[in-house]
Symmetry: C2
Amino acid sequence: KIPIPSLRRLSAYLRQLEVLSASEVTHVSSRQLANYSKVGDATIRRDLTLFGKFGQRGVGYEVDDLISTLRVILGTQRRWGVVLVGAGALGRALMRYSGFDQRGFKIIAAFDNDPKKIGTNLGDIPIHSLDELESVIDFTAARIAILTTPSQHAQEMATRLTAAGIEGILDFATPSLEVPPESYVTYVDITAHLEELTFQVSGNHP
Amino acid sequence: KIPIPSLRRLSAYLRQLEVLSASEVTHVSSRQLANYSKVGDATIRRDLTLFGKFGQRGVGYEVDDLISTLRVILGTQRRWGVVLVGAGALGRALMRYSGFDQRGFKIIAAFDNDPKKIGTNLGDIPIHSLDELESVIDFTAARIAILTTPSQHAQEMATRLTAAGIEGILDFATPSLEVPPESYVTYVDITAHLEELTFQVSGNHP
Ligand SMILES: NC(=O)c1ccc[n+]([C@@H]2O[C@H](COP(=O)([O-])OP(=O)(O)OC[C@H]3O[C@@H](n4cnc5c(N)ncnc54)[C@H](O)[C@@H]3O)[C@@H](O)[C@H]2O)c1
Ligand SMILES: NC(=O)c1ccc[n+]([C@@H]2O[C@H](COP(=O)([O-])OP(=O)(O)OC[C@H]3O[C@@H](n4cnc5c(N)ncnc54)[C@H](O)[C@@H]3O)[C@@H](O)[C@H]2O)c1
């Protein structure tokens, strides 16, 4: 019911507010938030007014209050269990990342087909064999998966994950995964981000 | 001179074409490419016509020919040396990633302040002390950096990198880095991708 562009802006405001809160800033004006988020001042005030947030003249918005409101709106008050498939270099980096927890995400289990990894733990996350995929997803009711297998196995694993009840896949392995209509895939292409940077940098050197 | 939205579409077509080429597909119609890339058929044909590419009736476009044309347009025929700052869990995963090379990027050096890491190599990439940052960037004429330090050191390193001649930073560490006007930052927020997935998944369960 909230359009995706507004949701993305709200998510961006929340990130900025969390940075401000971590630096012990208690209040922020819409103009400051607009500067940080690279969005128009009027747009921010319209977005926040939609959710009953009105800044105080001369004082602005209260940072921590805005943070908890946005977290409720964005559903990040909820806790989401996430499974990770492919506990290699990238998968293990993600398993170590402490930033997921403060935004409501926890990697609860990982899966791999390398016998040296199966049955070990990384931190408090167990690495299971692929045989246990369906039962662990069933037991934990996990709906989100991170896919960090080699690209050639990604489609097969995506098909298995969605059949087992996963509805959202964060895919690092390959573009254009095929999944059923009720499932969602976000493909993260780190190299495309580097390409965007080089387009812009090349613009400095015509 | 090419608007950023067209560049992004071209980059998406290129990814799809590389997947097709890897599966030994030799020809593709604009409608197939439109399906893969989730873009309108007319849009694709307009984009490609702009670069002198016309499909053959009944046969479509030649995949490998389109790939080399797009690579020239996107400048990915060029080779870009990239420095990486912060050789921790995420940095090391990126240093291992073989996917950068086929799109023209090579991490040529990494930097860290952990004495256990300085002076070691990961693959063929040397990890230097931060004292060597300016001289290595100067010597290699690197213009792109990947920033994977803890968030609290990111701004300080970004300032040093841009002062040393880096013009584009792929930042994993913190939103809203401040850099001089001629420099560009792309912030990669993996958690925001998970949030987008959970918005969509929640839409399945009103
Ligand atoms: N390393 C990076 O920085 C990076 C960046 C962008 C994209 N990627 C992509 O992410 C994926 C993982 O990259 P990586 O560097 O971690 O590779 P990796 O080879 O280190 O890890 C792959 C892991 O997947 C496991 N695996 C293989 N087949 C499997 C299966 N069917 N089910 C479950 N696990 C399986 C392997 O045992 C291994 O542990 C690749 O597709 C890569 O192209 C990686
Ligand atoms: N791990 C992930 O999957 C992930 C995901 C998203 C974002 N991030 C962010 O990426 C960054 C790195 O994450 P990580 O998990 O690799 O952390 P990490 O602690 O494993 O690695 C950080 C590395 O930076 C080095 N370092 C510290 N200060 C430095 C400085 N001034 N200059 C150069 N190097 C310095 C450390 O010695 C260490 O090797 C963090 O900001 C994290 O929030 C990580």
